[in-house]
């Protein structure tokens, strides 16, 4: 289970400006280096925050993806994808 790496990638958007810049400009290179499953990697690159949430990523941290507008996640896009998960129970890894 490597949802830890998804959470960490989001967390670093706030605390590492080089990482933030890289995710905003060449996310494929950053994501290629992360220890993710294929499913997670595809979901990250697609900005599929609903999927990542269901796989156990933390919503508060996923919110940084739209705060810094990476992976095409403007607020309306993020909002719609996340709200589609209402009522569903995600995997909990922690």
């Amino acid at each position: 289970m490597s949802i830890y790496a998804v959470n960490r990638m989001c967390h670093q958007l706030m605390h590492d400006k080089n990482h933030r810049y890289a995710m905003q400009n060449y996310p494929e290179q950053v994501v290629a280096r992360l220890d993710l499953t294929d499913e997670e990697r595809q979901a990250v690159l697609a900005g599929d925050v609903g999927k990542l949430y269901m796989l156990g990523a933390n919503a508060f941290l996923l919110g940084y993806l739209t705060r810094f507008e990476v992976l095409g996640l403007s607020l309306p896009v993020y909002n719609e994808r996340m709200r589609a998960m209402a009522g569903k129970t995600p995997i909990t890894d922690f």
Partner: protein
């Protein structure tokens, strides 16, 4: 001997400094915080303890304590990009933090020692409004109201009572305010967001119910109702209610003087007079 002179409850939304500046001095946010600040100034504390939930700025999944005590001369923050509040070194009270930590362990609350640390908006933003000069030392008391499993509500109330004993056993004759911070119904970036927003208030009736319990001083009922499942149903940071419950335990007065509700955000602003023996 230190004396507890009152308790406060406030929110800590990271966007509030910017929103408040846009609204102006007579805007809603400044009015709500200003009313609490007036009471704080009447209480005239020498030291302020804030019971808060860290949102991945002091701690991370790598190590996320259930209870922790900030023990240093200063701490640095807010480090999470709070507009109009750049990070800075904020004055704390190391000797008193260490005393509280030691006393709590002596009273069977095995707190984590937190030193050489940073904080996020949940510590910084309340003081942007309450003590903008940051001239009164602040001791952060960290309580996990975010990541399950969270401590049980009765345990948090008991923690507050033990915190009270730790405070009043401090030998110096000083005045201490206790602040609890957080929301009763708030979903941040999760599935219960309002359409088009980055937050939602999934259960305003629950927030109102919590406020009614606090105004009535009916803490026992609140402690039995505030289960983890119930709080999280009200939003992914609904567990921040635990910070207020711990504050109420510390103040030794279950009944709030008054609480204002900011409906659109599910936020509350409240004041408690000091109770109990001093």
């Amino acid at each position: 001997m230190a004396r507890i002179v009152g308790g406060l409850g406030v929110p800590h939304t990271p966007y509030f400094p910017r929103f408040a500046a846009a609204e102006g001095p007579d805007g809603e946010i400044n009015r709500f915080f200003g009313k609490v600040r007036n009471e704080l100034e009447k209480h005239n504390p020498d030291v302020i303890l804030i019971i808060d939930t860290d949102h991945f700025n002091t701690f991370y999944f790598d190590n996320y304590p259930t209870f922790g005590i900030g023990c240093d001369d200063t701490f640095y923050g807010p480090v999470d990009d709070v507009a109009l509040m750049p990070p800075r070194h904020i004055v704390s009270h190391k000797a008193m933090g260490l005393h509280i930590h030691r006393q709590l362990i002596g009273h069977e609350f095995d707190t984590a020692l937190v030193t050489n640390y940073k904080v996020g908006h949940s510590v910084g933003v309340p003081f942007y409004f309450l003590t903008p000069d940051l001239n009164i030392p602040i001791i952060p008391i960290f309580l996990n109201g975010h990541l399950p499993p969270m401590p049980l509500a009765p345990r948090c109330y008991a923690f507050g009572k033990a915190l009270r004993e730790a405070i009043i056993s401090w030998p110096d004759d000083i005045r201490v305010e206790v602040v609890g911070t957080g929301s009763f119904s708030l979903d941040v970036a999760g599935p219960q967001m309002f359409p088009g927003e980055n937050y939602g208030v999934p259960d305003l009736p629950w927030a109102k119910h919590v406020i009614e319990r606090m105004l009535a001083g009916d803490i026992e009922a609140l402690l039995s109702e505030a289960t983890e499942e119930r709080m999280l149903a009200a939003g992914n940071v609904g567990g921040e209610l635990l910070n207020w419950i711990a504050m109420i335990g510390a103040v030794a007065n279950d009944k709030a003087d008054w609480i204002d509700l900011q409906e659109i955000r599910g936020h509350a602003y409240g004041v408690w007079a000091a109770g109990g023996r001093q």
